[in-house]
């Protein structure tokens, strides 16, 4: 008899109705925010930027239309329509304009834009050319830096085109002291200024900005109170009338004053969560250790029933799903699934190193099971003293198959943070932001999603002597045929990495300056220590801890490629570097529908008609040199002939027989033990492939006075950025998906989940202090029954004992995913783990769906 698994109750009808309202809504763009902020900016052109931002927030909070949803107990929404989104033109806008006609039908995350909304947005956008953070960042960047981005080496697109977000603020402070307390604090700090330091001028404006913002935020809550009263007056159902009346009372109490009940605490929490996302478009506004700062309010509420306390919490869980954002069509492939990454956690240890699990931790697991939607990103913290009961309960939730909770290992993350100079007590308090990024809550401006850096692309460029296709993008570090051993190749890879990481740091810092100069955020800053003490915004370095965290993906692709080259080229000598190079440049003999292989490497018959125009400078130089050394003079006809024969000689068109040869080379390269099978050789070389990146990144500093730190997670960009990467020596064909995060390549971990997780654990996650991401997929049968639960918990403990940092699970049959892909209309409720977050499966782009389906499934 199974007794370890406790099972989950059904949510209330109210929660079910709220959930259906979101699934039934068509995400729609609203124009109010864009219009209002444009109007505000026009009114404040002469003011310091921090006051312009405060005035803008004031206008937004005073004038954006508000709504109370049917059935809800907690109020506050970004849009009048359910699951809609606003536009933030001060960061960037042209992509919205370009997508007016296509956003409703695009592959990933479609949004409706009604015609009149498009018109209003268009009018607002007329103000913004040259004035956005994005425009300023671009004007700071050098040409090589822009080239590297245009060629898919990395993107800083997240903060380049949007707000930064990626923060956990001091929610607890608002619930303890109210906005009135924060206003008092700012007033007191302002009163202490005596004008003796020039900085006082700026500080004074900062405090004024905070005061304006928090007064407006208080009034905003009162607008909701008034609306609730109004709705209560019209309401005929006495039960709902009473609820609305109480909701009005709540909105007059919080967030202005301290919360006196659990309901008010949740309402106050929600206003903070909401206003952060009105002020800026930055995503990954993460509630962090919710069970820690919220539990005192639940414990103190002696009158509330357990059921109602749970229903209120479930309602908060729903609210996370109502907030929505749109991004450009390309970014949305990287962030597929309407995800805004509000990461919320429970469990772990407190600052004194005592286990912090409390009754709310368990209630959060229940809410996640009740609501069973993509948001919030739900995580648990694990450490050696995590109670078995809590781990089993978390595993039971994983078994439901929604992809959460993700699990984070204190035993790795705390030392990793201390290695970045954070004291022990603060490190123990870490929370998770966005996908997988640890930070000290309300003390950090972590810039965690600073870039996607495609290290597989760096290998691709290394194999072509710094070229991307025909373009000399990086330094010349040697042709592939000239590498005599793996060490030489890795040295070249390292030199390319140095070059491109330098450009990455430049790009990030350009964007950082743009936010500092054009988008300091007063509402956010007052809730991050020690902005009020220092009298400046987080964008100007007001936070205690400052980082920039660009993350890599393609680690396994590079490790596997190095291992395959070592085995088949240098050890067994079955293939030469020249043959491998040729095979790569012919996509291993497989068709390339994009035609890019042809363009890049010029293999086909059309190349035999090559003219001087078609040649790049280097090739012309080589040809001229050949003729000169032979003849001592130049005959232009001979040059033309030589170029033609030269190209046909070295790059013969791929005949059928050649295609088989190339395919055989692919088969040979694939006869390699891959990363993910607990084989020390390939695991070590994969670790090195990743560490070369991480060590390079951590050399750099940002303008806020902080350090760069690498992460290793892809969101879903491994699919998108795979489209820029030519064939790799591991047999991967051109433009196909890369490995996600620190996971083995899809389908390559064939020795079972213990071997796979031990490989992953070897990567030295401590260096990737911006977070690592490991996906495991289990068939439901592998986890069935109490025995399955125990084994699952054992696997987690074993992985963490071996210094794994993060792991998350998809527990779903492949067949179920394939079925959902075929009949999306019947599977709107299917939630899966994509990367550092879960998403509605049917909302994902087909390629992302395929990538999830192809992950190795561990079964009996």
């Amino acid at each position: 008899m199974d007794v370890l698994a406790k099972g989950f109750t059904q949510p209330t009808d109210r929660i079910k109705a709220l959930k259906n309202a979101i699934y039934d809504a068509t995400p729609t763009v609203e124009a109010d925010r864009a219009e209002l902020i444009t109007a505000s900016y026009k009114e404040t052109e002469g003011l310091p930027i921090i006051l312009r931002r405060a005035k803008a927030v004031e206008k937004l909070l005073n004038e954006t239309p508000i709504a109370v949803r049917d059935n809800e107990l907690i109020v506050g929404s970004l849009t009048v329509g359910v699951h809609g989104c606003q536009i933030y033109p001060e960061f960037s806008f042209d992509w919205v304009e370009k997508e007016f006609d296509t956003m409703a039908t695009r592959m990933a995350d479609p949004f409706d834009i009604p015609k009149d909304t498009a018109k209003r947005l268009h009018d607002a956008f007329l103000y913004w050319p040259g004035k956005t953070t994005s425009d300023l960042a671009t004007s700071y960047m050098s040409k090589p830096c822009l080239d590297a981005q245009a060629n898919g080496i990395f993107t800083v697109g997240n903060y380049y085109f949007n707000g930064v977000g990626h923060v956990c603020v001091d929610y607890g402070k608002v619930l303890r002291e109210g906005y009135s307390g924060i206003i008092r604090e700012a007033e007191a700090a302002k009163a202490k200024l005596n004008g003796t330091s020039p900085e006082d001028i700026k500080k004074c404006h900062f405090y004024d900005a905070v005061i304006i913002t928090y007064k407006a935020a208080t009034a905003y809550a009162h607008r909701y109170a008034d609306l609730c009263d109004q709705l209560a007056a019209q309401e005929s159902n006495p039960a709902r009338k009473a609820e609305l009346t109480q909701m009005a009372v709540n909105c007059r109490q919080v967030p202005e004053n301290p919360a006196t009940t659990w309901w008010q605490a949740l309402q106050g929490f929600w206003f903070v969560q909401l206003i952060l996302q009105i002020e800026s478009s930055g995503h990954s506004i993460s509630p962090g250790r919710f069970d820690q700062y919220m539990y005192p309010h639940l414990e103190a509420d002696k009158n509330i029933s357990q059921d109602f306390a749970q229903e209120l919490l479930d309602n908060i869980w729903i609210k996370f799903n109502d907030l929505n954002k749109t991004r450009d069509a390309v970014s949305d492939q990287a962030f597929a699934g309407y995800a805004i990454f509000q990461n919320i956690q429970c469990g772990g240890q407190n600052e004194d190193g005592v286990d912090a699990t409390n009754p709310l931790s368990y209630m959060m697991i229940d809410s996640a099971a009740h609501v069973a939607m993509a948001a919030p990103s739900f995580s648990i913290r694990y450490w050696n003293k995590t109670p078995d009961e809590f781990l089993y309960r978390a595993c039971e939730l994983v078994r439901l198959g929604y992809g959460y909770p993700a699990m984070y290992n204190d035993e790795v993350i705390i030392p990793a943070m201390m290695n970045r100079g954070i004291p022990l007590k603060d490190a123990r308090q870490y929370c998770i932001i966005g996908c997988v990024e640890p930070q000290v809550p309300h003390k950090t401006e972590g810039w965690h999603d600073a870039a996607f850096f495609n290290i597989a692309k760096v290998l691709d460029v290394t194999l072509h002597n710094g070229r991307n296709g025909k373009l000399q993008l990086g330094p010349k570090t040697g042709e592939m045929k000239d590498f005599k051993n793996l060490g030489e190749l890795i040295l070249a890879y390292k030199q390319q990495m140095e070059y491109f990481v330098r450009l990455l740091a430049e790009a990030d810092n350009c964007v950082d300056y743009a936010h500092m100069e054009r988008a300091p955020l007063p509402y956010l800053s007052a809730l991050v220590d020690d902005c009020i003490g220092r009298g400046k915004s987080v964008q100007e370095g007001g936070a205690i801890y400052n980082f920039t965290g660009p993350q890599a993906f393609g680690v396994a692709d590079n490790g596997d490629s190095f291992a395959a080259i070592q085995k088949h080229v240098f050890e067994k000598k079955e293939v030469t570097m020249e043959q491998l190079f040729d095979a790569i440049n012919h996509n291993f003999g497989y068709a390339d529908e994009t035609g890019k292989i042809e363009q890049w490497f010029g293999n086909g018959c059309c190349e035999s008609n090559a003219s001087i125009e078609g040649m790049d400078e280097r090739q012309i130089y080589e040809a001229v040199k050949r003729i000169l050394s032979a003849n001592g003079s130049i005959d232009i006809n001979q040059l033309q002939k030589d170029i033609q024969s030269g190209t046909t000689k070295t790059q013969a068109p791929a005949a059928a027989g050649d295609a088989t040869q190339y395919q055989n080379i692919k088969r040979i390269m694939e006869n390699t033990t891959w990363f993910g099978n607990d084989d020390d050789f390939v695991d070590q070389i994969t670790r090195e492939a990743g560490q070369i990146y991480a060590r390079e990144v951590q050399k750099y500093k940002n303008p806020r006075g902080g350090q760069f730190q690498a992460g290793c997670y892809p969101v879903s960009a491994n699919v998108l950025f795979g489209k820029d990467v030519a064939p790799l020596p591991d047999g991967r064909l051109a433009w196909t998906p890369l490995a996600d995060g620190v996971s083995p390549r899809a389908g390559c971990d064939t020795s079972g989940p213990t071997a796979a997780s031990m490989s992953v654990a070897k990567l030295e996650h401590e260096t990737f202090s911006n977070g690592t991401l490991y996906n495991q997929k289990f068939s439901p049968s592998a986890l069935a029954g109490d025995e399955g639960l125990k084994r699952f918990a054992a696997l987690c403990r074993a992985y963490f004992e071996n210094k794994g940092m993060h792991v998350q699970f998809n527990v779903i049959d492949k067949a179920a995913l394939v079925e959902a892909q075929a009949h999306p209309e019947q599977h709107k409720d299917l939630v899966v783990r994509v990367a550092g977050y879960s998403a509605q499966f049917v909302s994902l782009a087909k390629e992302v769906q395929d990538n999830i389906i192809n992950r190795t499934e561990h079964v009996f």
């Binding site: 088949h568 067994k572 079955e574 293939v575 055989n664 088969r667 040979i668 694939e670 006869n671 607990d678 020795s751 079972g752 989940p753 213990t754 071997a755 031990m758 049968s781 592998a782 125990k790 084994r791 918990a793 054992a794 696997l795 403990r797 074993a798 992985y799 004992e801 071996n802 561990h858 009996f860």
Partner: protein
């Protein structure tokens, strides 16, 4: 108190190591497959296990016809015709592995590895955390591990010395002294009883069952055991035959469980890869499902033995 020593230099032959096994003893386990089996069951899904010496398996689908093997083989067991069709003379093959060593794509694979206890323990240690947290350990399978009794004994002792749980999967067709030599180091004994009729047993497995049944009694006198029965159509797939085994299992007085496993033909391809006949094809029978074995549950339980079916 006497000092227990382990001979870590003891060597043996294995053909596979499988991690994350959930069905061959408690917790999460690693199975070490030892080579050599006194039986040659028609349905055997590991035919490469039967001979003690290494065997070469050839997967034609993987072959790229590079003919490296043809030049490498001193016995000329591998030849190609002019049109590229490959022939493998399995009888001429001595299993020295020269061909597999030069095969660049893994179409030719050597099954069989000579290894000492020390090296094997180092490999098994990769899962020590998993063993510890799951209460799992190491299961010896085969072939029949008792065919290499000295190696099996030292390996099991070495596992116990690591604090791991041990299990063995055996046909029980070995010298009684070998059986008694090994089982003191085994926590869980999984023993196959395939049929109660000696002649039918001989026809389908190549040996009579008398030694097996007598060994079962010896083991039962010493230790609890699980009786495993592959249910094979036209061999023992009847209420009478399974019932007879159940009653025998009950009579041992120390049977924890009778675990019946449905016949599957997943091993068939391996016979092709070894150039051998898959005799089950003579019977033209299909694989069985767990559900088809449910009817045996009441019979087994009625005999007084706990019943387990398939991977439940």
């Amino acid at each position: 108190m006497s000092v227990v020593t382990v001979d870590y230099k003891q060597e043996g032959d294995i053909f596979d190591i499988q991690r994350f096994s959930l069905n061959d003893g408690p917790g999460i386990r690693t199975i070490v497959f030892l080579k050599g089996c006194p039986l040659s069951c028609w349905w055997c899904s590991n035919p490469e296990s039967q001979r003690r010496r290494p065997v070469v398996m050839y997967n034609e689908a993987e072959c790229v016809h590079c003919r490296r093997c043809e030049s490498a083989c001193r016995q000329h067991a591998v030849t190609f015709t002019d049109d590229g069709v490959r022939h493998f003379n399995f009888d001429a093959c001595t299993g020295n592995g020269d061909c597999a060593a030069v095969c660049p794509v893994g179409a030719l694979v050597m099954k069989g590895q000579h290894i000492d206890v020390r090296s094997l323990i180092d490999i098994l240690k990769k899962d020590r955390s998993t063993f510890r947290h799951s209460g799992g350990g190491v299961t010896l399978s085969g072939g029949d591990p008792l065919m290499q009794a000295d190696f099996a004994r030292e390996l099991l002792k070495a596992c116990k010395a690591q604090g791991w749980n041990t299990a063995i999967e055996t046909e029980g067709c070995a010298e009684p002294c070998d059986v008694l030599d090994v089982i003191p180091y085994v926590d869980h004994i999984l023993m196959d009883i395939k049929h109660m009729d000696p002649e039918k047993h001989r026809t389908f497995t190549g040996v009579s069952n008398e030694l097996i049944l007598s060994n079962a009694r010896k083991i039962a006198a010493f230790s609890p055991l699980t009786i495993r029965v592959p249910v094979i159509p036209k061999f023992n797939h009847s209420e009478k035959e399974i019932g007879d085994i159940a009653r025998f299992a009950a009579s041992l007085g120390n049977t924890e469980c009778m675990h019946i496993l449905p016949y599957h033909s997943l091993g068939e391809n391996k016979y092709r890869m070894m150039g051998c006949e898959y005799k089950m094809n003579r019977l033209s029978v299909a694989s069985l499902s767990n559900e088809e074995l449910e009817k045996y549950r009441p019979i087994i339980e009625q005999a007084g033995v706990r019943c387990r079916i398939g991977d439940e």
